[in-house]
């Protein structure tokens, strides 16, 4: 690996960097306080931040607030200007036009996942937020995990309930900043969920935040033209062959990926034509990898070890799983392919598995 090339940004990356800065200048920022369940204190954290910004001289307004069941927030609101909501069919909706006309620096929006009453300009509150941001206003908002679309299946498994509405993953991931409001389950007052349910939701929220942070890190590195060779998350690569021992590797990799909450990848490097039995076996192994949730890559390259290593470094792999060498003992006076792999796998753990026959 020519590791020096890692630091030089290519022209495409430079372009992306400039574009990222330009859009960053136009659009208002989005900061989300994420709670793992109702009553963990996310709205209070959001208003705390609003007041701190106000006291530092920023122009802050409240765009939406959920006061029912949150009377403790009332004193905080005496300091911040509250934009009156629109009332449509007896229900409240954000007055987007009024906020844009008022043009504050920061707008606080509670309950980002709320559905607007029928007849509003947007069906969902997060769409209102997008319009406010498009006008260059920063939005600081709060919401709960059960409204994140991509998490709703998991939340339902834990609580047996599913929220009717949700915000799309794209909106969550477009946030410039996400803060996790982490408190122990025992401190959540008046919850109708059990401590173990709350703890499981808490774990889910932390992992979601970790994933969002991981993406932010990637974006940051990309925008600054830094190629990253490490990962804060475990990334496991399984080198697949037609052999049946691939299954044992994949099972181990799958267990480890789950325990680490990491990512699993599987790679096969094409090496000439396979006979029918070997090809079938290979396809079965790749399918099996797919069923276990691996991201599958079929690569080409005359030197399969070099190709695997290049791929592993590009993908910031932390653990590489491969079968033991098949070479005869007497050939060991020269280093074999697996020895080469071990010696060149900078910063990667190489886990070698016993081999069985093909098929």
């Amino acid at each position: 690996m020519a590791s020096k090339d890692f630091c030089r940004p290519d022209p495409d990356e430079l372009l992306r960097r400039i574009q990222a800065q330009e859009t960053g200048d136009r659009k208002g920022r989005l900061k989300i306080f994420l709670g793992y369940a109702p009553r963990v204190g996310k709205s209070k954290r959001m208003f705390d931040e609003g007041i701190r910004r106000l006291r530092r001289g920023q122009d802050v307004v409240v765009g939406a607030i959920q006061l029912k069941g949150a009377e403790h927030l009332q004193p905080m609101l005496r300091e911040i200007e509250v934009m009156p909501p629109l009332i449509i069919a007896g229900r409240e909706s954000i007055d987007v036009d009024a906020i844009i006309r008022r043009n504050p620096q920061v707008c606080l929006v509670d309950e980002l996942a709320r559905e607007n009453p029928a007849g509003s300009r947007n069906r969902q509150r997060w769409q209102d937020v997008e319009q406010i941001r498009a006008a260059g206003i920063t939005v600081v908002g709060a919401m709960n995990l059960q409204y994140v679309c991509e998490e709703q299946r998991s939340v339902e498994r834990i609580t047996g309930r599913r929220a009717r509405n949700g915000v799309p993953a794209g909106f969550m991931h477009s946030a410039d900043e996400m803060v996790i409001v982490d408190v122990p389950a025992e401190e959540v007052e008046r919850s109708d969920l059990s401590a173990s349910q709350l703890t499981e939701l808490r774990e889910l929220a932390l992992l979601l935040a970790a994933q969002v942070v991981e993406e932010q890190l990637q974006r940051y590195m990309e925008a600054h033209g830094i190629k990253q060779s490490w990962s804060a998350q475990e990334r496991i690569l399984v080198c697949i062959t037609p052999r049946s021992s691939a299954r044992a590797m994949l099972d181990s990799a799958s267990r480890a990926t789950q325990r680490f909450h990491g990512q699993m990848l599987a790679v096969y490097v094409k090496q000439g034509e396979l006979d029918r039995a070997a090809d079938e076996s290979l396809q079965q192994n790749l399918e099996y990898a797919g069923r276990l949730g691996a991201e599958i890559h079929v690569l080409e390259g005359s030197d399969s070890i070099a190709r695997i290593l290049q791929f592993a470094h590009e993908e910031r792999i932390t653990q590489l799983y491969i079968g033991h060498t098949q070479r005869k003992r007497w050939a060991f006076w020269t280093p074999g392919p697996v020895d080469r792999l071990i010696q060149a796998a900078e910063g990667i753990d190489v886990r070698l598995f016993p081999q069985t026959k093909a098929g």
Partner: protein, 344 residues
């Protein structure tokens, strides 16, 4: 998080100075005091931060101990003083702190364990980078070798770990406003450790670590969650090579995540050369066995692994006989651990 001590341990976990760990710890101490509990401050490092200092108002301080070393006097926590005062709960800042010379223990986490064993609850604060098993990864990401570490089992035995979250951007603003450090030190920090990428990576680690702690807690409560499939057993081969320290930390971390036992083995005639590694093993609660071996060490290690139900042998890439082990033990899983590298 099995609650192995008589007192309860609660850890406020952060990822850098200035995220608000100490503040949160004190808020908690005050809350409990207002609920009527007997709360004291065992140790608190003010760092000149006004908002944090304000949180100590109304809380009782146990006077610091004075320790003499080579003619100088140092101040540090008076652990026995805290125990003698015997409150219901003590707030002890900076769990990873290395004590001044002449103290009872060399590390503050040892003091905390003693206080817990005396039946006193402890709330404390620490950053994720002080976790022993993350030491090499933290170096890889940030370029900083963290010297003050806390063994992973201290975390695992905590009853509660709470993540104190703040976005890197907000933290950088705090630093620029002079909330965290005085101006000169802040400028220095911004140049070195406090870069957006460092902070973001450390924050991710802290989030993942907290999630892992919660999962362990749930597992302990529900034995049915035990990992399915074959039970693993990791064996670390200790050799005199310096990268062995990294091997031990990595093996410990993987074993903890897989929820499997982790032991070490070494060839007795190398005992003198590997003594520092034996200390790391003891610190991380890894049992080490010496084997007698006159001939081929790789062969002897492989035989030991087979005879002890080991599923995975961990060896550092720089161990002299790594090729031989790989050759000898094709019936075993071998994990060859490479030193973490930093891009130049």
């Amino acid at each position: 998080m099995t609650g192995k001590h008589k007192g309860r341990l609660k850890i406020f976990l952060g990822y850098a100075a200035g995220v608000g760990k100490t503040y949160q710890m004190l808020v908690e101490a005050r809350r409990l005091k207002e609920e009527g509990r007997d709360v004291v401050i065992g140790y608190f490092e003010p760092h000149g931060r006004k908002e944090t200092i304000a949180q100590t108002e109304g809380l009782e301080f146990v006077p610091r101990g004075r320790y003499e070393y080579r003619g100088s006097v140092f101040e540090d926590m008076d652990t026995d003083g805290v125990i003698a005062r015997h409150p219901r709960l003590a707030a002890v800042d900076e769990l990873a702190h290395a004590n001044v010379p002449g103290s009872q223990f060399s590390k503050r986490w040892q003091d905390v364990v003693k206080i817990l064993d005396a039946g006193i609850d402890v709330v404390t604060s620490v950053n994720v980078q002080h976790l022993e098993s993350l030491n090499d990864q933290v170096w890889q990401v940030t370029g900083i070798k963290v010297r003050e570490t806390v063994p992973d089992w201290v975390f695992e035995e905590a009853d509660e770990v709470v993540m104190v979250d703040l976005t890197p951007r907000a933290l950088l603003h705090r630093l620029e406003r002079g909330v965290v450090y005085p101006p000169e030190k802040a400028r220095e920090a911004l140049r070195n450790f406090f870069t957006e990428s460092n902070l973001t990576a450390l924050r991710e680690m802290a989030l993942r670590q907290t999630a892992h702690q919660l999962e362990e807690e749930r597992r302990a409560a529900a034995p049915a969650m035990a990992p399915s499939g074959k039970r693993e057993r990791i064996l670390l081969w200790l050799t005199p090579h310096p990268s062995t320290a990294m091997l031990i930390r990595r093996g410990r971390r993987v074993a903890d995540f897989l929820g499997c036992p982790c032991d070490a083995v070494y060839v007795r005639k190398e005992e003198g050369a590997i003594e520092p590694w034996l200390n790391i093993c003891a610190n991380l609660r890894i049992g080490a066995t010496a084997i007698e071996c006159k001939g081929n060490a790789a062969k002897a290690i492989a035989a030991f692994a087979r005879g002890n139900g080991v599923t995975q042998v961990y060896v550092t890439r720089n161990a002299p006989k790594v090729n031989e082990l790989v050759d000898q033990a094709r019936d075993l899983q071998i994990t060859v651990v490479a030193e973490r590298v930093r891009p130049v």
